[in-house]
């Protein structure tokens, strides 16, 4: 009898946990809008400036590394 109650309580608890997890992970329409907005904002010129604008590409390789087979 007591074992049956424990199993029942465990099943109910597991069910509750699943419901809570599902609710937390559920994404409403606003989440997609926010996600798209964040993506577009991250692609704006202002967001890209620190990566691209201030980037100094590495020095081009020295042209002396194969002087003997030049055409």
């Amino acid at each position: 009898m007591s074992t049956g109650v424990v199993i029942l309580v465990a099943i109910v608890l597991a069910g509750l946990i699943l419901v809570v997890v599902a609710l937390v992970r559920r994404r409403g329409p606003d989440d997609h809008v926010d996600s798209f907005r964040r993506q577009i904002d991250a692609l704006s010129p202002q967001a890209r400036r620190p990566t691209i604008g201030t980037m100094k590409p590495p020095e081009p390789p020295a042209a002396d590394d194969d002087g003997d087979d030049a055409p």
């Binding site: 993506q39 010129p45 967001a47 691209i52 194969d66």
Partner: protein, 334 residues
Amino acid sequence: MARDLAIDLGTANTLVYMKGRGIVLNEPSVIALNRQTGEVLATGREAWQMIGRTPGYIVAVRPLRGGAITDFEITERMIRLLLQRVGVSRFTRPKVVICVPSAITEVERRAVTDAARRAGAADANLIEQPMAAAIGADLPIDEPVGNMVIDIGGGTSETAVISLGGIVALEAVRVGSFDIDAAIQNYVRREHGIAIGERTAEEIKVAIGSADPTPDENQAEVRGRDLMSGLPKTVLLTPEEVRFAIEDVISSIVASVIRCLSKAPPELSQDFLVRGMYLVGGGGLLRGLAERIERETEVPVRMSNVPLEAVVLGAGHVIEHYEALKGMFMGARR
């Protein structure tokens, strides 16, 4: 704590961008191995210098062809060594974003991500090269306007129309600057009867190669091995000959650009006339190519300020804004 990385795993060169630091590595995608023991002898520039000049027991190879991995094991070893050079170890496993040609197959995608994971990455995601190139070339892809980017790499040429952070139209051909080198090699062999190496062919392309006639053209002395006598021989090569030699490759690239233009929605097409198309990639540096594309499409062509680094800079931007931009990874689109 590992710093996350963006990798432009190109057929010709591999570039690595480190989060917060910028470009930390730019080396040819070449590895030199001991043929007998399988030991790695050199990677990157050091290995590139060995191409065509190795004794029998050493082989210097490019493990990628046409933007795809041709030898999984060697590619994995090359990536592992390159990652070690930027500080990745078994204790620092970074997240990695890798740029790949948009036309690669599912099997090829898996080969790239598996190679990166086995080389030390905690997580590996892929992004299409034209998308990364558009971000890196600083095109306004966040706006609802037509942005067109032409990325001519060592093994692939890709043209994409991008608007609002997504690819609208795409055209890719597995033809690139290595095919131009091969065409020059074949021409010199066929018409002049001398054999030249791939590095010499590349130097001819850089010295006198062009897709359209240009001012100040000069002839070039080409030294190779006479096919009949086996002796060293010098011949003169003209720019017209080189243009004739590479015509098929250039036509194929221009045709793919035209196909992409024809796929674009009309609302975006009109933007190209004003904004032009942007050329990136090492192949785009070929003299007269921008003019040739412009002449055949009647759309202005502009060169990116960072043609060789645009792809890795774009992927670097994605790694800097990983959470916001993870929806741009291949296979992640909703």
